[in-house]
């Protein structure tokens, strides 16, 4: 019996190296967990049929001495990450039968490392949501309480990992879509610095914000996955060249990073008392460990979520124009081309996707463009600037990850703004491009996970892992 509950990548690697079990046996252990638990969770939409072949290829890497840490690691990918020859639907009806014609760079890197991709996980349709309730394929349930949401949009990946249906999982972030489900499922989730990981082959939502982002049960697991995924990719026009990554990192990383800025003014209202108490307790623990806690002000951060809800729909309405029933995906017959577009998009997109396309069309339309889109882009610049200034004084910025613990299925679905508020503390990192990590920080009295978030300066992802490893010990 493999103890999947307490397994980490490094433990699995040692065991595989010593021959305590094979890659096939490890994959089978997870397939068994999926068999037992997926029906009630709906974390996976599909388990791939070539898992054991992938495991055998990984085993061959152990045999010939080319195995690396990720070799044989059974993982799950979010349903918007392309894996050649496998379905990728973005949990939308419009891509229900879509088969990826090429590998995303993320998958290419995982394959090269010999990772075993178990299947694709449920998500909010096109990653639009914070609770995995907008999926066209049913809701995913939170393993900590089946009546509650796992967070979203990468809720399937979070639930799969929390229930040991994979050793690690990949999600994507546009605004908190990994950190928020990590918080709701007691996991580590990191949103890396923008475009340190290629977006090539990720079904786009908001290109200026999207980022592949790993979940781990431990900080070290998330770190190993990110090391595997990161790197310059000429296929991604915004990918950051390695020399710029290195130069900026050298400039921004300091030998001793002990100053944590807390913008209390952002969350004294609207955060539940148990989240607030847990956050203060976490901050006290860090203080006792010798971290210096500094009050900071981020005057423009309060506009972050509103600016995000202009920039993101604008990019959504542009990106999703490619789904028109013509080249691939759902196609509804019509009398003429225009009818094919309109009918296919009506039948293929769910309500939240249609709502965001409409909102994006509105903020980009003549007469509103300046008042909304241009203004939001300027606020984004202000936020970037004030965060860069903050990082001259502190090494990290900390807030709770989410203002409240996981909520019940069905809640917030009738009120779009109430749902959007799940990501209020996520927006500054996505708008500024800076890396941010969500770390488990305890449980509510009723046993629901709580989480703390740290943001660092551009390309200081490593500093977040270092801090995270310390916090794991003292929490």
């Amino acid at each position: 019996m493999i103890d999947t509950k307490n397994l980490t990548i490094e433990k699995a690697h040692e065991a595989l190296k010593k021959g305590e079990y094979t890659c096939r046996e490890l994959a089978e252990a997870y397939l068994k967990n999926i068999e037992e638990k997926n029906a009630e969770l709906n974390a996976y939409l599909e388990v791939f049929d070539d898992v054991l072949e992938q495991a055998d290829r990984a085993q061959a890497m152990f045999a010939d001495g080319t195995a690396v840490l990720m070799t044989g690691v059974p993982l799950a990918i979010k349903d918007n990450i392309l894996f050649k020859g496998h379905k990728a639907s973005a949990s939308s009806k419009i891509l229900e039968n879509h088969v990826a014609a090429y590998d995303s760079t993320a998958v290419k890197k995982l394959k090269a490392a010999g990772a075993v991709i178990l299947g694709r996980t449920n998500m909010d349709e096109f990653a639009m949501g914070s609770s995995t309730q907008t999926s066209a394929y049913g809701v995913t349930r939170n393993p900590y309480d089946l009546e509650r949401v796992p967070g979203g949009s990468s809720g399937g990946s979070a639930a799969a990992l929390a229930a040991d249906l994979a050793l690690v999982t990949l999600g994507t972030e546009t605004c908190g879509s990994v950190r928020e489900p990590a918080a709701f499922c007691n996991l580590v989730g990191i949103k890396p610095t923008y475009d340190t990981c290629s977006r090539h082959g990720i079904i786009a939502m908001g290109n200026s914000l999207d980022q592949v982002s790993p979940f781990g049960k431990t900080v070290r697991d998330a770190e190993i996955v990110l090391e595997c995924l990161a790197g310059y990719d000429p296929e991604d026009a915004t990918s950051t060249p390695q020399n710029i990554v290195d130069e900026t990192r050298t400039k921004n990383m300091k030998p001793e990073m002990k100053r944590i800025g807390v913008p209390w003014h952002l969350f004294t209202e609207g955060t539940t008392p148990e989240v607030m108490d847990n956050f203060k307790a976490s901050i006290d623990k860090l203080k006792n460990e010798g971290y210096e806690i500094v009050d900071i002000e981020l005057p423009y951060a309060k506009y972050a979520l509103a600016a995000y809800y202009i920039i993101m729909p604008a990019e959504v309405s542009t990106n999703l124009s490619r789904f028109d029933g013509i080249r691939y995906g759902l196609s509804v017959p019509g009398e003429n081309l225009s009818e094919v577009y309109k009918k296919s998009r009506h039948a293929g997109f769910g309500r939240e996707a249609r709502r965001r396309i409409m909102l994006g069309t509105y903020v980009l339309s003549h007469g509103y463009y300046d008042a909304y889109y241009n203004k939001a882009v300027k606020i984004r610049e202000k936020i970037k600037k004030e965060m860069l200034e903050a990082f001259e004084k502190v090494d990290f910025i900390s807030t709770p990850t989410v203002p409240f613990p996981p909520f019940k299925l069905g809640e917030r679905m009738d009120d779009p703004v109430a749902m959007y508020l799940c990501d209020i503390f996520s927006a500054p990192a996505n708008l500024s491009g800076m890396p941010a990590i969500a770390l488990p920080s305890g449980m509510t009295e009723s046993g629901l996970p709580l989480s703390i978030q740290f943001t660092a300066n551009n390309f200081c992802d490593q500093a977040l892992f270092d801090l995270g490893k310390k916090f794991e010990i003292i929490k």
Partner: protein
């Protein structure tokens, strides 16, 4: 926001919508716009947008890609002799 504004947006976005959805979008838009309108209070007069644009496109020379041609053609909703077939546009 009125129904006719929703009609215009739906036309621009190329999405058919029934009356019930249009009505609910009117109230959703009121709700969402009143939230995002807080940005009107932000002072951004001193922001100069300098996007520093440069050409990120590659040169127009043939390069091999690992796209699977058959997988792409197989997924055309309608085709004739491996060509994508669409409604006539003229």
């Amino acid at each position: 926001m009125e129904i006719k504004d929703i009609d215009n947006l739906a036309e621009l976005a190329r999405i058919d919508m029934d009356t019930e959805e249009k009505a609910s979008l009117v109230s959703d838009f009121d709700n969402i716009l009143s939230y995002i309108d807080v940005i009107q209070g932000a002072n951004v007069d001193d922001v100069e947008l300098d996007f520093n644009n440069y050409n990120a496109w590659r040169e127009d020379v043939g390069q091999s890609r690992d796209f699977d041609r058959d997988l792409i053609i197989d997924q055309f909703p309608d085709k004739q002799d491996d060509f994508l077939k669409v409604k006539k546009i003229l």
